[in-house]
Structures are given as C-alpha cells and as structure tokens.
Point group: C2
Amino acid sequence: MPQVRRVLCAALSMCALISVPQAFAEETAPKPRTMDEILAAAPASDWRKPDAQNLLVMQLAQGTVLLELAPDYAPQHSANLRTLAEEGYFDGLTINRSQDNFVVQWGDANGDDQAKRKSLGSAKAALPAEFSTVIRNDLPFTRIPDSDGWAPEVGFSLGFPAARDPATGQQWLAHCYAMVGAGRGNAPDSSNGTELYVVIGQSPRQLDLNITLVGRVLSGMEHLSTLPRSLAAGGFYERPEQRVAIQRLSLASKMPESERPKVEVLRTDSVTFNALIEARRNRADAWYLRKAGHIDLCNVPLPVRNPPESR
Amino acid sequence: MPQVRRVLCAALSMCALISVPQAFAEETAPKPRTMDEILAAAPASDWRKPDAQNLLVMQLAQGTVLLELAPDYAPQHSANLRTLAEEGYFDGLTINRSQDNFVVQWGDANGDDQAKRKSLGSAKAALPAEFSTVIRNDLPFTRIPDSDGWAPEVGFSLGFPAARDPATGQQWLAHCYAMVGAGRGNAPDSSNGTELYVVIGQSPRQLDLNITLVGRVLSGMEHLSTLPRSLAAGGFYERPEQRVAIQRLSLASKMPESERPKVEVLRTDSVTFNALIEARRNRADAWYLRKAGHIDLCNVPLPVRNPPESR
C-alpha cells in the first residue's frame, strides 16, 4: 500500500514518451511532484483563513468538529444555521443516525413530535430549497479536465466540490466525502438546517440537486466517521442511549477570539491547487506503477492546515 | 434524507414522457420499483451460497467480519490466504492502520523486522502480481450502461465490481467500498497476502491495476469502518496499544459445518441484479425529485442476506 514518502527521483518512464534529446528533456520538463511537495512549496497567499461567520464548531465528547458554511450556495440555510448556533439550538441535542457507507446525521431526536420538539427560537421553520444557483461571475469554478457521469462539468468553487451545467445555467455543490447537507422530508422546501447529515462513505452523488448542501467538515471528520453504525433501517439508532450527545455547537464569530479554531484552507482557485489536481491525476509517487491519467471529483483532496503562527 | 420506504404509486412524471394514450401506457409501462421491492420479488435461484473454500471469517472483539475471496481474479493470493488462514497465521496479529476516508489494514506489525516477524508456515513468501487477468469466457461480466473515467467498461463479475479494456484484453477487480487487497511494497510482486487492507471511504480507483485485490467483505464492514482513525502518516497506529487484536481468522471450509457463517449473496449475473442497477440509476423512491439517470460503479449495492432457512 502507498505510504507517505518523498519521491527523490523523477519518473523516468514519462520522459521516455517525449521524443526529444534526453538532456533537453531533463532541462525543460518539470519533474512530476507529489502532493506533499506541492503543498510544501505553496506561497502563503494560496491559503485562506475562513470567515469566522461561516465556521461552526461542534463539540462532542470524542473531540471537535469544524464545519465551514457555503453561504454563496445556500444563503438562507447558512443564515438560519448561524441563528440556530448563536441561540444554542444544537447544544444538548444528539447524533441520531450512522449508516455505514452513507451518512451520519444529527439534530432533534424528537423533531417529528410537535409536542416534544425543541423550540427553534428565532430561526425560521421553513426555507426554500437551495439545491442549485445560477452560474455567476462571482462564483469561481476550477474545472477538472476529466469526465463525470453525474454532471456535464465538475470542479471546485470557493473550497467546495461543485458541478455545473451550461445548458441549464445552473451550478451546485456535490455530495463528496465530508460534505454536509440539510435533511428534508419529501417536500423540496422541508429543510431548515435543524437536521444535518455528513457524507461518510462513497460519494452519494445521486443526492445532488435533490437536497441542499450547506457546507463541509474541515477537521474532526474522524470523530463522525467512526461513530458506531446502526444496522436498523436508515442507520437510525433504535435506543435513546445509543445516541451521541452534542455538547455544544457554536458560531466561531461569537466565540472569544482566543477560543476560535485556527485553521487555513488551500484556495481552490490557486495555482497550487491546480498543480495538486494534476499530481493526483498522475501520481508521481514511486509506488504507483500505473498512472490513472484521471481523477473523479470526490477523489481530489481539499487540504486544511494549522496556520504557521499557531504551530 | 431518504429513508427506507415503499413507494405506493408509480412515478407519473415518467409516463408523461411517453406519447401514447394514457390507458395504454398504464397497461404496458412497468411501474418503477425500489430496490427493496426488487429484492423481495427475487427468485431463490438469484441468490448464491459462497463456496466455504472462499470464505474467510475474521473474529474481532468488535464482532465477526466475513470476507469472500476472488480466486478467479487472484488465484495465487487466494491459495496463499487459504494456507495462512488454515495454519492460524493471522490469529493474534493486529489491525495496524486506520486512515480516514481510505483504508483499514491488518497483518504483522513486525512484518518489516526480519528478526521479529511471524513465520509464514507453509505459505509462500512471494507471489506474482495479480493486478488483472485476460478477458475470458468463464468470467461473466454484467456491464453497467454508464461511463466511467477510470476504465473503458465497468460492471460486475462473480459478485465483485470489475472493469475491462477490450483494447488490451484485460479484466480486473475495482477498488470500491469493502473491497480487500493485498498490500505490497514498491515492487509489483512484493505482496503475499500477509498484509490486507479494506477500502473504508470514497473509492480509491487510482489503485486499480496497481495492486492485487483478493476479495470483498460480505458482512461486518461496520466493525472495520468504525475503528479509531490514526492521524499519523498513512493512518498507521503509532503506539502498540492502539492496535486492534485479530482473535482468529479462519477458512470457513475448515470450520465445523454448524459454526460456518450462513450467508447468501445476490448473483451479479441475475435478472434481479440488472433490475437493481436500473432502480439505482433512476430512483423510484418518492423522496427523489430528480432521477440521476446514471450510476457510478462503486455506488451499486451488492446485496447479502441471511438464508431464508436460518432466519
């Protein structure tokens, strides 16, 4: 199995494909680099600090989960989630579902019981569906060169996996690992952000354009992906004691500055990120005997790091 | 979020696409069915009992993991794994790696230390690479109609996700969730089955044709997918006490008949399985507002059940 290691020599087999004198090829052809090498060489400007207004911090006994909202794609759900977090809606609620190779989901276990359910405070009970948005100039789109079976074009936008269709003029977020969405009933406008799920397995892209994605887990995914599975229908825990407590879910901008999580995310419109995509399409690691020459949207890593000053 | 439920009415929007009188359409167009409905109607002959010679039973404190070998694709690795299991090689060894969204891996934690490593008994220390095989008449291939970025043709063969390339004449197994492979070093022929990994996240198809897949976990995946992650390089546990003990790993054919796991697997060359693929390409569930009209290889479920007589 591949291990994290530095590649000390270029993949000579690639040079063999170029019909120019070897000396010339060595001088001009850039050496294929691994992702680690590309990230190590990234200028500071290729990293961004997410806006604290878009960061939700979920505290579990297992550890801290950090989630970045996508207000450019789900403005109303993002606004409602800020209100819910500010007013402590999720504090004391539970993780109620853990379905293997699909999703982990949290919210009010009594949400379907009008008599028992928790008050939404000043948050809205109903929101419009935000499954997609129109293709806009202010929404960058770093397209990957490879085909995708689910959408005409796929790539990354503002740090999130995304897709678009020039024929319909629509652009939307895609259900990759660690993406977070707002659960709904059968009606398209039946989500309000009180019920959230995160993808923990193979990307369920059939959900794209069927439900509102609100953001992505930046760190702490391992606290959610390892929660005990339920084999009951839909992976819902059957007994109340199986549920996992949410100690607190806060909006970072309302936390004291010193307590806010320090994190940096690689810009998906940067030269570094484009180089990373290419490095993953054709692995330079010595372990790989065959380079795929392809990548699926949900196989592209989205690097997150501690800022240099906090290390 | 979608829940398991029966669809009581046909999706009328599909009828609207057919320009024939409504009464005729209702009589002749088959009602779209959900996967549950398709499985409930499957004849007994569409299910198979795996050969006990191909079943490995791994006992952990967490529960039992059942693995089916793929001797038609990896004959030498399968034979070696039978020998290793029969002679108790894995008993008392450990799970040493759990990398989020990638793999869980088990074997001899001292495998790299010639002085400390466990004897292989009569198993072979070196095997040839079994990354692919020639396309043969005795290897059924149920092709899915959708495009795939990693291979010219994808589908299912003998219960496993597979791919093939008519141009090279090669056919191979694909790295989907729950597939199990034999770890290797940088040399293509450096695996022998003593180091096994299972896919626990987004399908890492870049590994296809780079490493030998030996089979698939049929049940008990949740015992592996929820193991605590290591954030160290490659997801390897750093401290010996983090490792998870393998109490026993047995070949089912060598277990007393009464103790062998009872399991049935849906035949991937059956009419039922073909209907299931179509049901997942275009979901009939009332929850889905938009049918994808597509599926990726690794999104197709491979149903496993307890045999009717053991329920």
